[in-house]
């Protein structure tokens, strides 16, 4: 059974995605392109995502495991890290 969404974390992450710097590795873009998706789709999936799990990492940020739908209705599972100083978020994995 899918884990329930975490409301506060979801709100926090959506706000972060609307304003902060996006960081990603080369595999993120190639993975998206291989599925016919783009950074726009990834951003949209994050902008209306639901956080399913979050883990505080050391003292400098938080990992989130989220599920989000693109505007075309494609569901993406995304692991994303948001820095504690709220300057950026980093895409760790998209599947």
């Amino acid at each position: 059974m899918a884990e329930p969404a975490l409301k506060v974390e979801t709100e926090f992450l959506r706000i972060a995605v609307e304003a902060l710097e996006m960081r990603f590795g080369p595999d993120t873009v190639s993975g998206l392109l291989s599925r016919g998706l783009y950074l726009t789709d990834l951003h949209n999936a994050l902008a209306c995502c639901e956080v399913r799990r979050s883990n505080k990492l050391e003292a400098d940020g938080t990992f989130f495991e989220v599920i989000g739908d693109t505007t075309e209705g494609i569901t993406l599972n995304i692991k994303v890290w948001v820095s504690l100083d709220q300057r950026f978020y980093r895409i760790e994995e998209v599947s």
């Binding site: 996006m22 080369p26 595999d27």
Partner: protein
């Protein structure tokens, strides 16, 4: 999959951080989008890219959509789809807003039908409005009044805010009143837009303030 376990770690000795003169983000736009001196990459000593950093992706998408909306060339089906996605709207949601059926919207994006001039103009106005909606004028004004201790600094920030406000009003007026949609253009003539970070937000330690504007070499 990425191998970085903690993204906040500092660069290792074999890694360098470079600011790219030009970067073409994979946005899926049916026209060329180039970011001028706005994107940074971490590379290893072989030159392989480890990480790419794009400030304010949400703001970038809205700026690109608004710029395309201010260009008089008629939207292609791919333009309609891209602008909608850049505004983070589902097809059915945008169809509701501009007063057409979801089926018609879908056909317009697939090239089976064409958006009417009035529907396309409304979509353009929505795109321009969304770009300026990201600038919270009231919050900016409050911030200037409360934060800037240096009078010269305060004056510069006021001027900057007034310029942004004027640009917002001017673009909206143009999109509503004077923008003519042109259906005549050479098919070889690919649209290209170059953006850079606004000078006043470029070195701002608060990345959330990063704003894009169209880049011109004369500037």
């Amino acid at each position: 999959m990425s191998t970085l376990c903690n993204p906040s770690k500092k660069l290792s000795k074999s890694q360098i951080l470079v600011t790219l003169d030009e970067y073409e983000p994979a946005l899926g736009a049916p026209f060329k989008v180039i970011l001028h001196k706005s994107v940074q990459q971490i590379r290893n000593d072989q030159g392989d890219v480890i990480e790419t950093r794009i400030p304010n992706m949400a703001g970038l998408l809205k700026t690109v959509a608004a710029r395309r909306a201010m260009c008089d060339r008629k939207f292609s089906p791919a333009d309609v789809k891209f602008v909608r996605k850049a505004l983070c709207l589902k097809g059915s949601s945008l169809a509701d807003i501009i007063g057409i059926s979801a089926e018609h919207m879908s056909r317009c994006e697939n090239g089976d039908r064409v958006l009417s001039v009035s529907a396309e103009k409304l979509l353009r106005v929505i795109a321009v409005e969304a770009r300026y909606d990201t600038i919270d004028f009231e919050k900016s004004l409050t911030s200037i009044l409360s934060d800037s201790k240096n009078p010269e600094d305060k004056s510069e920030k006021f001027k900057d805010l007034i310029l942004k406000y004027r640009a917002a009003v001017s673009d909206l007026k143009s999109a509503i009143l004077s923008l003519k949609i042109s259906t005549v253009h050479s098919t070889d003539d690919e649209l290209e837009f170059v953006f850079s970070l606004r000078e006043s937000t470029k070195d701002d330690p608060d990345a959330s303030e990063a704003e894009y504007e169209e880049y011109s070499e004369a500037a």
